[in-house]
Amino acid sequence: MYRLSQSLTDAFSRRFSRTVREDYRQDEAYASTPQGRFWLAVAIVGLLLLPLLLPQYPMFVATQILVAALAGLGLHLLVGGAGQISLGQAAFVGIGAYTSSHLSGDLAPLGILAGGLVAALIGVVLGIPSLRIKGAYLAIATLAFQFLADYIFKRWTDFTGGVAGRKLPAEGTMLGLSLADDRVIFYLGLFFAIPMFFYAKRLLSTRAGRAWFAVRDNDLSAQLSGVDLVRSKLTAFALSAFYGGIAGGILMHLIGAVTPENFVLSFSIQYLAIVIVGGAGTVLGAVLGAFFIVLIPEVLSVIAGAFGPQYVAQLSAWRSVAFGVLILLFLILEPRGLVGLWGRIRDYFRTWPLPY
């Protein structure tokens, strides 16, 4: 009997405690094992070297992924973290893009930062209704925000250039580097993205993250555990918007222009899809999700291209079908997303041959 209970406890630890670490400090670090640290370093160096290896177009796509991952990550803090759903992330990306379009050239990084900050400020405003409403109601509120933002993007001609949008000068440079070069933009993106990824990971595993999760799971009892609901929700909204805004700034430089079409509902949905497909719960998920979502159209058009031009005409239809079906499949078959899929494979081998 005792052995049995022991094995039950073991089953728990196997599933939930990864490896038992000697000391709490190790348990709390980013990558607590030497291997972990090694792979992290490899990944970062790899990213830094990437532009030297790849030609322009793949770099363009890589930067797109970076942008999507940042915006998705921001949304992840809000959705996966604080459990507040938002269908307005594209609007924040837009706010960031428009703001930063006013400060380009040598000031580009500052412009991007400003974009993030302005977005964060507006994020706080959008967060206010979340103090009173949740779930589906909030989703609709953010949907409304998304539409109103679109309305303003199109109307406030002085700031946004109206329906026509704004265009960066073709020959813009930053510190002597051409801003038309996608590799330069990629580095610009990395400059923001790497610290922001670590920061997000850190936040989620410390105080702010705990407070968000608590609010997500049970906001009433979160209050009674000393969590300041107002502050917690508003920071989540502000941060999420900030990440979106920064992504917008980078996107603006990547395309070289801002027009309202880039910030419509379908993009908000795409960012949400990144969170879902990547797997709510981890920072890594946002990256994987962005990879996936950005690459689907690329892959599809390669396939369609192989069949010949007559199929290209229907491509956008097939793309929406593929996008939708993928989301549904993930939700139904692997709710924990790509990260979960990976975890399951790992678990399977770890517990194989005795799954129980």
């Binding site: 406890t9 728990f12 630890s13 599933r15 939930f16 405690s17 990864r18 709490y24 400090r25 348990d27 709390e28 850190r202 936040l203 410390t206 105080r207 702010a208 705990r210 407070a211 999760f213 608590a214 997500r216 799971d217 049970n218 009433l220 009892s221 979160a222 209050q223 009674l224 555990s225 000393g226 969590v227 300041d228 609901l229 502050r231 917690s232 920071t235 941060l239």
Partner: protein, 251 residues
Amino acid sequence: MARVLLEAQDLHLSFRGVKALVGVRFSVSEGDLFAVIGPNGAGKTSLLNVLSGLYRPQQGRVVFLGEDLAGQSPQARVRKGLGRTFQNLELFRGMTVLDNVKLGAELAVGGYTDLAPKAVQEWKIRRHAEEVLDYLHLSPYRHAPAGALPYGLQKRVEVARALAGRPKLLLLDEPMAGLSLEEKQDLARFLLDARREWGVTLVLVEHDLKAVLELSTGVLVMSYGEVLYQGAPAGVRENPRVAEAYLGRSA
């Protein structure tokens, strides 16, 4: 004479015609284990809700450590040292046991601005949380999602979360419901130890009369929002009104 920690003065509360509290007054001194009992729907949970700030009484005051709590938000009260567990489990089901307890521990250890994580502080919180987990024999489950634990363990995690904040006064809403006798005894032990070692004063709402009578230092019996009896545990069984409203024929 120990210091008076909490004082409820003439609390009134009603919901669309239902009277949940009618002029309830009592006081709890430091080191007490104050029990509140009464039939179902008597207003016990409502009383705790008023104390912890979830309901606003229509009349009356709550004084904690000599300060009137009127108008203070629930989380402000918790920060002042007024901890709480719930009748129906209100754990953060998706978080691990450890994170649940850490969240509580922040209250005791002191946090930091949440946007600027500090590793040192985080380790302190962790150490403190582990101590409480150890104490309540929850360490093996620290990485399990709280929602997947059996009911009894979840109750214990809830106690752990509240205790980790080192409250001065802990409000417990039926912590023993659904536990077997042996487990009740274990829990009683934990509570008594916490009281002794950490100086936590306890307010206990409970239906297990035997436990209440054996553990408490003072008892308040409520029925339909009114106070039926207040005093030493020994007097509860003798009181005819209590017997009629609460105990039934077996008394």
